[in-house]
Subunit: 388 residues, 2 copies
C-alpha cells in the first residue's frame, strides 16, 4: 500500500462535536462514504478567524470517512455520537430549513431511508448517483490543488488541469460495480457504459478464494503475490516464445487463472497472495480495456478513474495505466484522483450549494484561493456561504 | 447441456484405421482439437462409390476430436493407435511429400513440436493461429449447411448467410483466452482485440471455487445454479428498486460476486452450482460486451462467436446474445457456429489445400454440393482433391 492514507482517517482526528455541520453520504453496495464540514481548525482558534475575507463565507474543512454498508449501524452510531442528527445546519446562519435532512446518494439512500428516519429522525434528501459522481469529480479536478495525477513507472505525476481543456472526459467510477460516464461539462453528462466486474467482484471473489479479512488485507496480499503462478501466459502456450505477429509477448497474460485448469492443485495449495494478484490484475486490466474502448468510441483522450476500488494502490493504478496505454497505443491517458473514493459523497455535499467554488472571479484562473488541499491526510479546506 | 454432441464423438464412432488420412491439430493452452479426413462411410460400401462425380475428387468425411492439452499423451496414443504417424497422406494418390508431416496450429504447435518428433517421428507444419481461425470460420460459414445460428429465447435460428454479404464480420474465438478478429475476406483479417478473461478463466477459477471434475461438469453445474445468490443486483443496492434513469432494472447485475462481500459465508457454504452460474454469467457477459465495443468500433453488424468455451451451452449463448443485444441496443447480432470449437483445427486442415470448397463453379451459389453436414453428430462430408 502506498500513497496517502486519506481513507483511514480515524475519529481521533475528527473535529469537536460543536464545530461540525453539513453531512453528506454516498451509500453504495459495499461502502458508505461520508463527507462533512467543520469549522474547527485548532481548538484555541478564535471563531472569528474562521471567517473568510469575503462577507458571508465561513472557512472550514471537509473531512472524509467510510463505513462498510453491512455495518451501517456503525455509521448511525457515529452520526448519533456527533449529534449530527439533531443539529442540522444551523450554524453560522445557514438556512434552518434543512434541519434534520441530509444529502445522500447511492442506492442506499433509497434502501436505508426508513432506517435513518426511524433510528435518527433524519430524512435523506436523495441526490442522483451519476450526477453526484460528476459534480464531485468536477469539483476535485477544478478546485483542489494536486488532485489529479497519472501513474507511470511507479511514480505519481500530478497534473495541472487546464479548466478550459477539461471537457469532454470519461469518468470511470469503480465501486462495487463500475460506471462509465461521458462528462461534457457541469451537470452535462451521460452514463455510456459500465461493467459488473468491479470492486465488489475483487473483494467478493477474493474473499471466497483467499479468506482475506478485509479489502485492505486482500490488496496487501496482492502486493506480495505473483500472478504468473496461476495465469496462463502467452509463453506457457507457445513454449516460451512470443507471439509477436499479433503483438503479444511471452509474458502477456493469455488466460487469467488459466494455469489452474491443468495444475493438479486444490485452491489451498496456491498461495493466497498469488491468487489475489491474479484477481487484481484481471479486474484492473479488464476495466482499463473497457474504459479505453468507450473513450475511443467518443474520441475522449482523458480518462479519470475514481471509486473506492483503487485506494491509491500502486499495482492497481499501474495495471489500469498500462492497459489504457497498451490498448490505445499511447493515445489515451489514465488519470487518478487523490479523493477517488469520495466522488459521490462530495457530489452530494456540493448539492447543498453552499461551497464557494469560484469566489472573487477566480473561475478563469486554474487556482481557487478558497479551496485548499491539506496534503497530509486528504482533508480539504474550503469556504461555505453562510447565508444569501 | 443442450444441442449437438459433436464434441463427444468417441472412438467407437471413428472410422477404420485404413481409411483415415489427413490429420490437423490445433494445440491450445487447455485443449487439443483434431480434425481428420476419412473415406470410410460404411464398411460394406464399395470403395469406388467414394469417388465424387468429378475426376480426382475423393468423397469422405471430416471427423472431430478433442483432448486435454495436459493429457497430450492421450492424443499421441490415439495418433499412434490409428497409425497416422506412419501413414501420412498417401491414399488415393495424395502427394507423398507430406508424409510424416501434419498441419498444426495454436501455441502447442511450437511448444510440443519436439515431443511429436521424438515420440512419433512426426513433424508439425505450423500454420499461423489467427489465419487458421479465420479460414476455418470462413469454410464453415460459407460451405457447411446449417452451420451459423442466432440464439434467441432459448431457440436456435439457423441463418442462411449470403456469401456476398458476409464480410466484414467480427470473429470472437473464445479459447483459454479470447481473440477478436476483424475479417474482411479470405485471408484478409486483423486481430483487433482480445481479453485474458476467457474459457481458461471460467474453467480455472471454476475449478478452484467448485472443485468440479471437468469443464462439462462445471457447465452442467452452472445450468442448475442461481447467480442471484452471489451477484449483487441493482435491486440489492437500491432496496429492490430499478435505477431506470440509467437503464438498469432491479434484476441487472451491479457487481458480479458482490454479495460475497457482506455475506458472512465461507466458500463452502455456497452451492457450487450458484458459484458456477455467477462465473459463467460474468465471463459470458464480459466477452459479449468487449466484442460489441469492438464491433461498434469498426461498424461490424455480425459477430460470430467460436471456441471451445461455448460448447453449445444454452445459458452461455443466451448471456452472450443478451449482452450484445443490450449493449448494441439491438444493432448488432451474436451468431454461433455448430463446429465452434474446431475453427483453428479446420483452418489448419484447410491449409492442406485439398478441400474442394467450391467445385463446379458453385462459388456464386449459397450452397456447396460437395460439402454436407451430417447433422446428427457434427461430422462433415466433403470432397478432397486426390491429385493435381
Amino acid at each position: 500500500m502506498e500513497g496517502d492514507t486519506i481513507h483511514d482517517l480515524t475519529l481521533l482526528n475528527s473535529p469537536a462535536v460543536d464545530d461540525i455541520s453539513h453531512l453528506a453520504l454516498d451509500i453504495g453496495g459495499s461502502l458508505i462514504k461520508m463527507v462533512y464540514f467543520s469549522t474547527s481548525r485548532e481548538k484555541s482558534v478564535d471563531k472569528t478567524q474562521n471567517k473568510c475575507s469575503k462577507d458571508n463565507l465561513v472557512t472550514g474543512r471537509l473531512y472524509f470517512l467510510k463505513f462498510e454498508t453491512s455495518k451501517i449501524n456503525e455509521c448511525l452510531d457515529f452520526i448519533s455520537s456527533k449529534q449530527l442528527h439533531c443539529r442540522g445546519v444551523q450554524h453560522y446562519g445557514f438556512p434552518a430549513s434543512d434541519k434534520n435532512t441530509i444529502k445522500a446518494t447511492g442506492g442506499g439512500a433509497f434502501k436505508f431511508a426508513d432506517l435513518f428516519k426511524e433510528k435518527l429522525g433524519i430524512s435523506l434528501d436523495k441526490v442522483e448517483e451519476m450526477g453526484s459522481l460528476v459534480s464531485g469529480a468536477n469539483f476535485l479536478i477544478k478546485s483542489v490543488p494536486s488532485e489529479a495525477f497519472t501513474y507511470v513507472n511507479g511514480q505519481r505525476n500530478y497534473e495541472q488541469i487546464d479548466h478550459n481543456d477539461l471537457y469532454p472526459y470519461l469518468l470511470v467510477n469503480i465501486g462495487s460495480g463500475v460506471s462509465m460516464i461521458k462528462v461534457d461539462g457541469d451537470g452535462k453528462f451521460e452514463r455510456v457504459s459500465g461493467t459488473s466486474v468491479g470492486g465488489g467482484t475483487f473483494w467478493g471473489l477474493g474473499k471466497l478464494l483467499t479468506k482475506c479479512k478485509s479489502f485492505d488485507d486482500l490488496l496487501e496480499m496482492s502486493h506480495q503475490g505473483n500472478n504468473r503462478v496461476i495465469d496462463m501466459l502467452v509463453g506457457d502456450i507457445y513454449g516460451g516464445m512470443d507471439y509477436l505477429k499479433i503483438g503479444l509477448t511471452s509474458t502477456a497474460i493469455a488466460s487469467s487463472f488459466g494455469k489452474a485448469v491443468s495444475d493438479n492443485k486444490e485452491l489451498e495449495e496456491y498461495r493466497p497472495e498469488d491468487v489475489a494478484r491474479s484477481l487484481l490484475r484481471m479486474i484492473s486490466n479488464n476495466i482499463g480495456q473497457i474504459a479505453y474502448l468507450n473513450a475511443l468510441r467518443f474520441g475522449l483522450k482523458k480518462i479519470f478513474f475514481g471509486g473506492f476500488f483503487i485506494r491509491g494502490h500502486a499495482y492497481t493504478m499501474d495495471t489500469i495505466s498500462v492497459a489504457v496505454d497498451f490498448w490505445s497505443k499511447g493515445e489515451a491517458k489514465a488519470m487518478f484522483l487523490r479523493h477517488e473514493g469520495f466522488l459521490g459523497a462530495l457530489g452530494a455535499f456540493m448539492n447543498y450549494q453552499l461551497v464557494e467554488e469560484f469566489p472573487c472571479g477566480a473561475r478563469d484562473n486554474n487556482q481557487n484561493p478558497l479551496v485548499e488541499d491539506l496534503k497530509d491526510n486528504g482533508i480539504i479546506e474550503c469556504c461555505l456561504r453562510a447565508s444569501n
